[in-house]
Symmetry: C2
Subunit: 336 residues, 2 copies
């Protein structure tokens, strides 16, 4: 490359833009579709239903224990696609880059995206790069959009919870958010806290293989498990009763939450899912999840109830009940 930092001309659509794409992007993500370098990707798509999702990633810092903005941007969008039960197939990636960003940083992020793309078994088929003047964005933002195919017979929606359904969590909560926060605050005692960023499409495929009867499913990112379950309860006009003792939290994460006065129920996850399923298939689905590396700690954490409409209620380890409300303020900006 001619320069060692990003120049405004790298976003001009001219020769330096072309060099950025051919030297940095294509060696990582090249495939028959992307290599055509058209302004849009044209891909085969068989009959049926298409799942579409988009997310902007603005995480600060760019690199954190357990991951970086690159794998987060891939895994986050893969996860949003597969939470509908869809098989993620194609991704689009749009970069907003601050002038002066060292190319070595961009390169490291792209390597990480490359690994994540391979890990999830998807393809980036189109993209965009914009460069803004120094001070007009903070280093690097990545917006990824995902397209997937929804299998026949699968109809997953936050509005489909029914009384008696079981609530399944795939593993420990609050890892990602606490990894960002403790790395930002430089808390050395919390150095073992790692982000859980991971692609969940393999786990979802296992779950659907044993039963397509999943009612609702979501990855509890911003706002954490509390927010996702509140959205489920509101959409389906039911109550959700949780057992606090059943919700797994790693000791080091619980410790960091206690020191900082943060409730792990509201902290972002990036490699976990919560599913609401009919009681009769719950154990079978949990067993299937536990056979997958990303679901080894899968557990039933509660159930759907007909009363307490719109509320999420937690039975605490002391036997009391407390309402787990929607968060009002921002706990952790730029967590993803």
């Amino acid at each position: 490359m001619e320069y060692e930092t990003i120049q405004l001309a790298h976003g001009s659509g001219g020769r330096l833009s072309a060099e950025l794409v051919s030297r940095l992007f294509l060696p990582r993500f090249g495939n028959e579709t992307l290599n055509r370098l058209e302004d849009q990707a044209v891909v085969d798509f068989s009959q049926g239903r298409l799942a579409l999702t988009t997310d902007s990633f603005v995480v600060d810092p760019l690199f954190f224990p357990g991951g970086d903005i690159g794998d987060l941007a891939i895994n986050g969008t893969v996860n949003d696609v597969c939470m509908s039960g869809a098989t993620p197939l194609y991704l689009a990636a749009a970069f907003i880059i601050e002038e002066g960003l060292p190319l070595s940083i961009l390169h490291r992020v792209l390597l990480s995206m490359e690994n994540a793309v391979k890990g999830a078994g998807v393809q980036i088929v189109t993209g965009d790069t914009k460069v803004v003047n120094r001070g007009c964005c903070d280093k690097l933002f990545i917006t990824t959009t995902g397209v997937g195919r929804v299998p026949e017979g699968v109809n997953i929606s936050a509005a489909k919870l029914e009384a008696g359904d079981k609530v399944i969590l795939s593993g420990t909560i609050a890892d990602h958010g606490m990894a960002i926060l403790t790395s930002r605050e430089g808390l050395s005692f919390a150095s073992r806290v790692q982000s859980d960023t991971a692609p969940l499409n393999g786990l979802v495929a296992e779950m659907l293989r044993v039963s397509p009867l999943i009612h609702a499913m979501r990855d509890p990112t911003r706002g954490g498990l509390a927010t996702t379950l509140n959205e489920f309860a509101a959409s389906s006009r039911v109550g959700i009763m949780l057992e606090e003792a059943a919700v797994p939290v790693r000791p080091e994460v619980r410790g960091a939450c206690e020191v900082l006065g943060i409730d792990p129920m509201y902290v972002a996850n990036e490699g976990k899912l919560v599913a609401v399923v009919p009681a009769q298939v719950a154990d079978k689905i949990v067993a299937a999840m536990r056979s997958h590396p990303l679901g080894r700690e899968a557990v039933i954490i509660g159930e759907v109830v007909a009363d307490k409409q719109g509320l999420v209620v937690m039975r605490t380890t002391l036997g009391a009940q407390r309402i787990v409300d929607m968060p009002v303020g921002e706990q952790l900006p730029r967590i993803c």
Copy 2:
């Protein structure tokens, strides 16, 4: 709304995020799919090929003569989809918003997006909002992703140019870029220069109706007509010979270009297309374009030649020939 400016909590995924979506976004863009507020949209998609495109819009200023970041973000992505010959159907929109942005500004942008969505006959089916701290982005960035269906028998690609093909331009060049630049520079003599932002899917449908035999088609945005034609020539390993006198430029735009020492061939357009078609259908396609409001000034500006491989050459009004090269530097950052 509880606040008059954007708070970090508007990006938290909590109650204020929900309010932002329900009070500002859904009233503008609501449809059966978006209203479900899932993390991904699931839409019908019939058998065939899917066109996918993504673009981040970082234009500065947000509002400019003839448009704003809102209609630009819709029209730009609609245009990238339809340049493949596809019918644009679904859009995803991701917002990165600076803390403290007046809600009135966001509201104005959303109204403009609403009009653009209706004008193009598409739907926004999913989206995302992130809020970053003051100073971490410049007011508002919007990334839009578009999905369309490619009709059978249509195969448009920059690699399909053949010697003898005609190059058709849909109208005047350099309007958008010069509108941004003159408004940024506060050049009062250029106050009549207006952006050409417009959705081109209707025009493309007209063109395909008379002939599906379009070889290549693109909207010459960043880098202008010169860059697009250079990409065509390189992809297809042919030469392109242009007639300078045939390329339409509005007098006020030409005047502004001359004062600022800018070549209109390199200036961005946001409502124009260039198509390369077999000679035998060229006149029929031009006639069809002229019957559409966005193609009234459509004109043949040149042809594809077998020699001069990879080069774009212009016969000037004085009879000389000059090479129209790819731009190297950034002429106008944040033009879109």
